[in-house]
Symmetry: C2
Subunit: 249 residues, 2 copies
């Protein structure tokens, strides 16, 4: 399993991705799922992946080397050459479809599901900063001011806190904090999501990552956040009065 969340607020963009992959319960590994496509002072793009690892890795490689599908005339387009984030998201979609074409027969023969999804966000030059979720079919949606976050993978455990705590006006590092709480809730309830966690933060109109960091097991801030959150939840439900429905105590 996987859990990745992307948040686009007024101040900028962040992504958080776990690194656990599994092929069956007895084959668990650590793979990076948060990928960067950066050209200093020109563009910063981040791509987080969920789903079949062979497919998502091929999509990432193809976006680096060029997408050689039938729409292509001239050299296969690379993500680093896309003029806008919208066209870049379209290219991610094309790469997904191209990988599907290539792998389809083999997957069908092995009765494997071709499920992948991506979060894709960033900024190119003076174009607007944008955040997309791209589906297995290569189509995509964009996050909005009303719903400033997107999730892929095992998203339900960690959604309630995001629903409550993140708006477009939320401070960038507060949003990162809430995203880490969301990741913590997911990790506690689903063993398929685990440390280390990759995080990236991009401030709006600064074409250079402000944070590009891996949180390893035992890292002090995240450990402290988990402890504080647990303690606060315990205190929170203890502070709520006893339900009045039963007989007097």
């Amino acid at each position: 399993m996987t859990y990745c969340v992307g948040v686009l607020v007024e101040d900028g963009l962040l992504m958080i991705a776990d690194t656990r992959t599994n092929a069956g319960l007895d084959n668990i590994s650590t793979y990076r799922k948060l990928h960067m496509f950066n050209e200093a002072d020109e563009r910063v793009m981040m791509l987080a992946s969920a789903g079949n690892l062979s497919m998502t890795q091929s999509v990432v490689s193809m976006l680096h080397e060029g997408v050689d599908d039938e729409e292509t005339e001239g050299p296969p387009p690379r993500l680093r050459d896309a003029p806008t984030m919208f066209k870049a998201a379209q290219l991610v979609g094309r790469a997904i479809r191209r990988v599907r074409e290539i792998e389809k027969a083999g997957f069908e023969a092995a009765n494997l599901r071709m499920e992948v999804s991506f979060l894709f966000g960033g900024q190119i030059g003076t174009e607007p900063m944008r955040l997309f979720m791209i589906y297995s079919a290569g189509n995509f949606i964009e996050c909005s001011r009303d719903a400033p976050f997107l999730q892929i993978g095992e998203h339900k455990y960690g959604k309630p806190i995001l629903d409550r705590a993140v708006t477009f006006e939320t401070d960038l590092y507060d949003a990162l904090k809430v995203g880490l709480v969301s990741m913590d809730s997911t990790m506690r309830s689903n063993l398929g999501v685990g440390l280390p966690i990759d995080i990236a933060v991009l401030r709006r109109d600064r074409l250079d990552l402000e944070v590009n960091y891996r949180i390893e097991a035992g890292e002090s801030y995240f450990h402290d956040l988990r402890e504080r959150w647990s303690a606060a939840l315990r205190a929170a439900h203890r502070a709520i009065p006893r339900p009045p429905y039963g007989p007097p105590r």
Copy 2:
């Protein structure tokens, strides 16, 4: 959608079930999903249902009237006659299979899924109090001291708080409180789960329900619980220090 949770702690058993059903997004109704099979001073059994409403209603009716499957010799057995909770859970499973047999051809012709699940718990006489989750195939699992709660329906949003806050030693009404917080989290993140909520509480070795109550929209305790929980979560994530990963503020 549906969300139901059952908790079996040292002091007793509780169930919480929402009442929202939908056939498509434009056909939303309120149906009771928490059903009682009580004989005063002799047995209290509660059954919460998720999945296809026509199937779950037929299962409940059949458990009242008797399960007329091919295993039956003599009068079709009713839930009120089951000598132990284990045999009662088996009978629920038989009722599910019998309804599947009856409805299978029609469901297949209409390309409908025969998905149902139940929480079933209670106590008969001096037999142990037990809580089961019964699947579409009629098989079932029982909750344990290590994992004293079971959920059906849209269970992921509300699982983190249960994972953190409920153990076998938790006070019965504290468990009810945490169950209501779990229901609140689910309702906030999934519109398919909604008020009113039915709750039932049975103290161990008292063969009479201590609570059998419907929480309607606007009910003051639950409204207050939701407000307090929201405020406490806001305070909790605000109290966590800012992540140290970015540049100094």
